[in-house]
Symmetry: C2
Subunit: 205 residues, 2 copies
């Protein structure tokens, strides 16, 4: 795991590199990107945190990336134009890739409505390292919940280009998992994600 | 660690949040940002990787952020103008903050020549979570090494605004640690950083 690197004219320094596999061995599980996608109010963030809770109990290293810790920080300079939305997802995907290399299971919870953006993430990492989880919930249910009051603002025109109302949501065509967050309990949805991780050999049963 | 969140009109979902302290307990060490700063060729990246190697042997969770994994990815859209340099450091600092929350010891290896930029990182996180490590190495030594051939290009004018040659390097005024990477061995510098981590209670002796 070392390559020679002569950085002094007098002393040979060795450039050590701990790699992903070593981190995974130390952690006792593999790393992966769990990409939750779905309408606003479909339960992405809540499900991601519930899965993290279960993984923590299993002593796995995880991190949830969602609007709470991204929109005010790394992407605080971005608005909601088409270009800014693309850049937002691009940065999140690069971030998730770094966590992947760091041996961490990252769980991203963003609407990420465009298929091309999600495919870009998939293509950014090795095959099998990106698991797309579609939080399938009827628009009517999301709008009825309207936890953040956003649908009301979208209907009134106060928010422009709101996904599902005035901007399209492109549902995944072949996601690794579909969870019906409109009808299942949180426990049921969580169990399905955990099963996916076990089936894929990411974590132990 | 749970707060109630009614995201369905029928079912109450609980919003679980694993926090930094829980991650640190699982890891058996605290998280921190080790910010290596210094001239090109001063050994920042090599030292960061050597420290990571030692921390890995102690079963600590770490990740090195340097030009290799940042400039082509997260900051691949940025050039080397003043504004782009500031944005580059801003994104890296936000990234380091996320790793901090994830319970990981991050080691950043960027020239980061401007005091104001480094102070911004310091002010972004709680007191004590940012440890500035000045890789002090005479310009002459860095230029003599010139591992990447950059100084030669800077002297010929092929590279503009090169730190130390045609752009200033503002040395830290009160860094948590100064390592003399021009005269010490890699082992000596590494030991000093490890001692700092022990003294600060980040890792166990």
């Amino acid at each position: 795991m070392t390559k020679k690197s002569k950085i002094s004219s007098n002393v040979v320094w060795h450039h050590a590199t701990i790699d992903r596999q070593q981190r995974e061995e130390m952690n006792g599980h593999k790393s992966v990107i769990l990409w939750f996608t779905g309408l606003s109010g479909s339960g992405k963030s809540t499900l991601a945190h519930a899965v993290e809770d279960e993984l923590y109990a299993r002593k796995c290293r995880t991190y949830v990336l969602d609007g709470d810790n991204i929109r005010h920080g790394l992407c605080g300079d971005l608005g909601f134009s088409d270009a800014d939305r693309v850049e937002n997802i691009r940065r999140i995907s690069e971030l998730a890739k770094l966590f992947l290399e760091a041996g961490v299971i990252s769980l991203t919870a963003f609407i990420s409505p465009f298929r091309s953006d999600r495919d870009n993430v998939r293509n950014l990492v090795p095959h099998g390292d990106f698991l797309e989880i579609f939080c399938h919930c009827p628009l009517e249910t999301c709008e009825e919940r309207d936890v953040k009051g956003l649908y009301k603002k979208a209907r009134s025109g106060e928010i422009k280009a709101f996904t599902g109302i005035s901007s399209p949501y492109e549902a995944p065509q072949s996601p690794e998992l579909v969870v019906n967050t409109g009808s299942e309990t949180l426990e049921e949805s969580t169990a399905q994600v955990i099963k996916l991780l076990v089936d894929r050999g990411i974590i132990q049963a």
